[in-house]
């Protein structure tokens, strides 16, 4: 049995739409990955705890509420605190261009705006799992 890439897809924050997150989850599945989908309204602590228990290679965060500048870096921070910084974090959603460098600096490895081709996202997670 070969090592499988495992990715956690989570939606922190309070907005109630997860269509985008589900599309990503399916695309990753179709690329042969195991995607753990945790549903809506998760706190950063919940997300990190789930990521550790599921032993994922990467976390994909989706946020449409505008709270990404606090939520995404918070996930990275808690991962570090739990000595699990080998888990790669990527984020997506409605994210203004000027926030991207700040998020990258905070340890978010990739930021995907709306309209990012799925192949690019799939490619990122494939590479992230290998490089980790």
């Amino acid at each position: 049995m070969a090592k499988k890439i495992r990715v956690l897809i989570a939606k922190p924050g309070l907005d109630g739409h997860d269509r985008g997150a589900k599309v990503i989850a399916r695309a990753l599945r179709d690329a042969g990955m195991e995607v753990i989908y945790t549903g809506l309204r998760q706190t950063p602590e919940d997300i990190v705890e789930a990521a550790i228990q599921e032993d994922v290679d990467a976390i994909g965060l989706s946020c449409l509420s505008g709270a990404h500048m606090t939520l995404f870096p918070e996930v990275v921070r808690i991962l570090r605190k739990r000595r699990a910084k080998d888990i790669v974090v990527a984020g997506g959603g409605i994210i203004p261009e000027e926030d991207v460098p700040k998020l990258r600096k905070a340890g978010v490895k990739a930021v995907f705006g709306p309209g990012t081709p799925l192949t690019e996202i799939v490619g990122f997670f494939k590479k992230a799992a290998k490089g980790a």
Binding site: M1, A2, K3, K4, R6, A25, R26, L28, R29, D30, A31, G32, M33, E34, V35, I36, Y37, T38, G39, R41, Q42, T43, E45, D46, E49, A50, I52, Q53, E54, D55, R82, R83, A84
Partner: protein, 345 residues
């Protein structure tokens, strides 16, 4: 599943101080470290070279957890019920593990594992460990590594471990062979008793749950089930009505699980079930080992080619050919007797 692989390792384990990664992980596991548990499950699931050693070290630390399997058609409410039970057992101060299995796509090899959605309220509770698992092509509603993951959670110190099978809606005897207590979940709208019987499900349930009683009249289904359930070894499987949504009937379900556990213990059936499971696992591993060896060794492969020709030429039937092959394999390679060993450190 892989104890025999472990037995094949002839080098005895070093005792005492942790001297390698696996030993360290298992020591951390015994201290209740969830990250170690998660890493060990992956290592076994991916069948890494250290998997056999990991299982060998973990096995002596297991045997305390009550293993409860949940099966039933898709969407019947297995995850939601387990979520409620997790809360109920936590309130009683028990530590709870969950292994939830979802199917792997046969086309892409990928999977979306969604059982966690229903268990989200568990959050960061330190006394809970939930692991999602894809079948990776294994039939029977479970993954090959499912019960190895259960072992890991047992060794992590969980008092009870729930296993959620793929809701295939058909007979899932594998879970019944492996769990201490098997819970079969149905719902009022899921069809008549004839269907239930066809599924062979009436032979495997230690506890029956009629969930979603908030949605419709459960009396018909309960009456039908009642007619079909007969005492087995002094145990008559109870039927519990629940609504996971409205949190109804959960204490009754807890009581039914506790009663069954007590029944297994007082009648000695617990040991019997464990022995049955061990026998099954030894046979599973034997099959795996023989197949692996047959496939790997050139000599054996050549022998199979020769025998296959004999079968095609009608000089030999396939059964006799397998017999001959097994005999040849056993003769040429003495079966190593595994050394008796004390507890792993």
């Amino acid at each position: 599943m892989r104890e025999l692989v472990a037995a094949r390792r002839r080098r005895p384990l070093r005792r005492g101080r942790a001297d390698n990664r696996v030993a360290e992980l298992v020591q951390d596991l015994a201290r209740g470290d969830k990250r170690a548990a998660a890493k060990l499950i992956s290592l076994i699931e991916d069948d890494e070279p250290e998997a056999a050693e990991a299982l060998e070290r973990i096995h002596p630390r297991t045997g305390k957890a009550h293993i409860v399997g949940f099966t039933g058609p898709p969407g019947v409410g297995k995850s939601s019920l387990i979520n409620r039970l997790v809360r109920a057992y936590r309130r009683r101060g028990k530590k709870v593990g969950v292994v939830a299995v979802d199917p792997t796509s046969p086309f892409t090899g990928g999977a979306v594992l969604g059982d966690r959605i229903r268990m989200a309220e568990t959050g960061i509770d330190p006394g809970v460990f939930i692991r999602s698992m894809a079948t990776r092509g294994h039939p029977g509603g479970l993954a090959l590594a499912t019960f190895d993951a259960v072992r890991v959670l047992d060794a992590l110190g969980m008092d009870i471990v729930f296993v959620e099978t793929v809701g295939a809606g058909q007979s899932e005897v594998e879970i019944a062979k492996r769990a201490h207590t098997t819970v079969v979940v149905e719902m009022p709208l899921s069809g008549d008793a004839v269907q239930v019987m066809k599924a062979g499900i009436l032979e495997i349930g230690d506890v029956y749950v009629v969930n979603k009683v908030d949605l419709g009249d459960a009396d018909g289904l309960v009456a039908n089930l009642n007619q079909e359930i007969h005492p087995r070894n002094g145990w008559t499987s109870p039927i519990v009505r629940t609504s996971a949504l409205e949190e109804r009937g959960i204490p009754d379900l807890v009581l039914a699980l506790e009663r069954h556990r007590a029944h297994l213990e007082s009648t000695g059936e617990l040991r019997e079930r464990e022995a049955a499971r061990a026998r099954q696992e030894i046979l599973d591993n034997l099959r795996r080992l023989v197949e692996e060896r047959a496939r790997r060794a050139d000599r054996v492969r050549a022998e199979i080619d020769r025998l296959a020709r004999d079968v095609v030429e009608r000089r030999l039937d396939p059964h006799a050919a397998a017999d001959a092959l097994l005999l040849g394999m056993a003769r040429r390679r003495r079966v190593p007797v595994p050394r008796r060993r004390g507890r792993a450190s």
